[in-house]
């Protein structure tokens, strides 16, 4: 456990010691800030059916920055260690492979959560200025941020896996983005089918982040995506461990 914390601390510290985390944070806040402004300004044009939270989490700006985040956050995790050779001193120290895999995953998950935290301020400021809640109920906040965390876990574990496969960061980033895009675009199946029946709904609510977010940001809680994301995170962490251990037999 002690070894895990030491590794975790270094992962988090190294993210903030390089400009990477700060650059991502800057642009993420820039985009989401504009996104929030757009969401609020809708209110100026008369009554609407969507709350600020709903509109915040369901725009192109949000999804665009959301999807770009994962390749950027995870690409260096393993690839950088392979390329610079620091994997050698790391793995000749008395540490277990599982400790390294978990420390890297939870380290980047912490970073991810840290990046989204300031966006909570937007809603606080809104409430402070207008004395109105920006969502119908507290459940909409909890649901939105819970889904954000769950999706993050899945996509980050996927990014970890892609990074553990290659020593080239860019290759890892491209792979991560391609696979995430694939999952993301399953949400468009209902458009392709042209109609929405119960089976199609089952598929989209499990796979499509857009449909899930529409629901969760309204405060509607569905267990299917929760289970799906938890299982997939576990699966990809397992795969990451396998690929990380396989480096021994590859090299």
């Amino acid at each position: 456990m002690r070894i895990f914390w030491i590794l975790w601390k270094r992962e988090v510290a190294s993210a903030f010691q390089t400009p990477m985390a700060w650059v991502i944070l800057f642009f993420l806040l820039l985009v989401t800030g504009f996104n929030f402004y757009a969401g609020v300004s809708v209110l100026n044009h008369g009554p609407t059916e969507v709350t600020v939270v709903e509109s915040f989490f369901n725009t192109v700006f949000f999804w665009f920055s959301f999807l770009l985040l994962f390749p950027l956050l995870t690409m260096r995790l393993y690839s950088e260690e392979y390329r610079s050779g620091t994997i050698e001193p790391l793995m000749t120290a008395p540490v277990r492979d599982t400790q390294v895999v978990l420390a890297k995953f939870l380290g980047v998950l912490f970073l991810y959560a840290f990046l989204w935290m300031p966006t909570g301020l937007y809603f606080l400021i809104f409430w402070w200025q207008t004395h109105l809640t920006s969502a119908g109920a507290i459940g909409a906040f909890v649901g939105s941020y819970l889904l954000l965390l769950l999706m993050g876990m899945f996509y980050l574990s996927l990014g970890c896996f892609c990074s553990s496969l290659t020593r080239h960061q860019i290759t890892a980033a491209v792979m991560t983005f391609a696979v995430i895009a694939l999952f993301f675009l399953t949400g468009l199946l209902s458009f392709l089918a042209g109609h929405v029946d119960t089976m199609m709904q089952g598929i989209t609510i499990t796979f499509s982040p857009i449909d899930q977010m529409t629901q969760f940001s309204r405060g509607i809680f569905d267990t299917r995506p929760v289970v799906w994301y938890l299982v997939m995170t576990g699966l990809f962490l397992f795969l990451t461990l396998q690929s990380f251990q396989a480096r021994r037999w590859r090299s």
Partner: protein, 344 residues
């Protein structure tokens, strides 16, 4: 402390290490010597637990490197080739991280890191980013990392590669100092370096051990120690020409052959009061030590020659190494194994 049995490792079709067996006892400083690509780094990566071997057994302080990997690894300080380090960290910070990772107790970390910093003479760069350090300092940070938890065994892969002569001397002195407390296995392709720091040498080529012993033993066993020539520089009072001197020298029982050395500048040799240098190959048939120098000295005294130099040219490890490598069948440079498939 280190015991290796039948170690084999191949990369694809290329054998890096073939059936390697050796052991290192507590307190020894063993040099792992071989040309580039001989399998030194591969062996060290296996010993440090980074790579698994295809076959064979490695025991570190009694622990199997595969089944008791953590226990074995915690007893090794490993300096990888080219010293990979996290460039975004500061020197002191990195060493504290490494010490903690290697299981040094929290309250002892500061003390151990200070010791390592001092030992490697890097206390003054402790707040510098590792990415800004020169090659020599990186090497020392790597060394400090290897010994920060005071492991029983140090495995150092090419510790002086890429350093300038001054730094090489410093690192060598450092390693000599470490030998009192640690068992050390170090690799090098520089022969003089191994000769200077190590009590025992393992010569490895094409993944196999070709010879082992102290530098002196190797010299003896290579059989070329005394075939090394004796150099004699004299001035003859009676201005006898060199042919006459050669005839006298060759008549001696201890001398197999004598030749006039060609290396002296003509300005010296042509002068009447010239010094003449002779190369004498000792006769090996003698029951004595085979050293012709006492006889040569007596002869010079009897003839009234002035003697300026009488020295035995000892064969260097370099020559020994070449002789061992050449002697093994199938190990000569011409017969390169099927490393590369035939290309058109």
């Amino acid at each position: 402390m280190i015991s290796v049995q039948g170690l084999t490792k191949s990369y694809g079709a290329t054998d890096a290490v073939r059936d390697l067996s050796f052991s290192v006892d507590r307190g020894e400083v063993v040099g792992f010597l071989g040309p580039n690509g001989a399998g030194k780094s591969t062996t060290m990566k296996i010993l440090s637990g980074y790579l698994p071997a295809d076959a064979g057994e490695v025991r570190i302080a009694g622990f199997d490197i595969l089944s008791q990997s953590l226990k074995a690894r915690s007893r090794i300080g490993y300096l990888p080739e080219n010293v990979p380090l996290y460039s975004e960290m500061r020197v002191g910070e990195y060493l504290r991280y490494r010490a903690a990772l290697k299981g040094v107790r929290s309250r002892r970390i500061t003390e151990k890191v200070e010791d390592a910093l001092e030992l490697c003479c890097i206390s003054h760069v402790r707040n510098q980013l590792i990415g800004t350090l020169s090659k020599g300092y990186r090497q020392r940070v790597g060394l400090a990392d290897a010994l920060v938890n005071e492991p029983d065994i140090l495995i150092l892969d090419e510790p002086t590669i890429g350093l300038d002569p001054g730094q090489i001397r410093e690192v060598r002195e450092l390693i000599k100092g470490l030998a009192k407390r640690h068992t050390i296995l170090l690799s090098s392709h520089i022969l003089s370096e191994v000769e200077m720091t190590c009590s025992r040498v393992l010569i490895i080529n094409k993944g196999q051990i070709v010879a082992t012993g102290t530098p002196a033993e190797l010299r003896e066993r290579s059989g070329i120690a005394l075939s090394g020539s004796v150099r004699m520089e004299i001035q003859t009072a009676d201005r006898a020409n060199s042919e006459a001197v050669l005839a006298i020298l060759q008549s001696l029982e201890e001398v197999a052959s004598a030749t006039l050395a060609e290396s002296l500048p003509s300005s010296i040799t042509t002068s009447t009061t010239s010094w003449t240098r002779y190369e004498i190959v000792p006769s090996l048939s003698l029951s004595s030590s085979g050293d012709p120098r006492p006889a040569l000295f007596e002869e010079a005294v009897r003839r009234g020659w002035k003697l300026r130099e009488l020295s035995a040219h000892e064969s260097s490890l370099e020559e020994i190494f070449t002789s061992f490598v050449d002697r093994i069948p199938g190990m000569t440079k011409e017969k390169t194994p099927t490393k590369e498939p035939a290309k058109l």
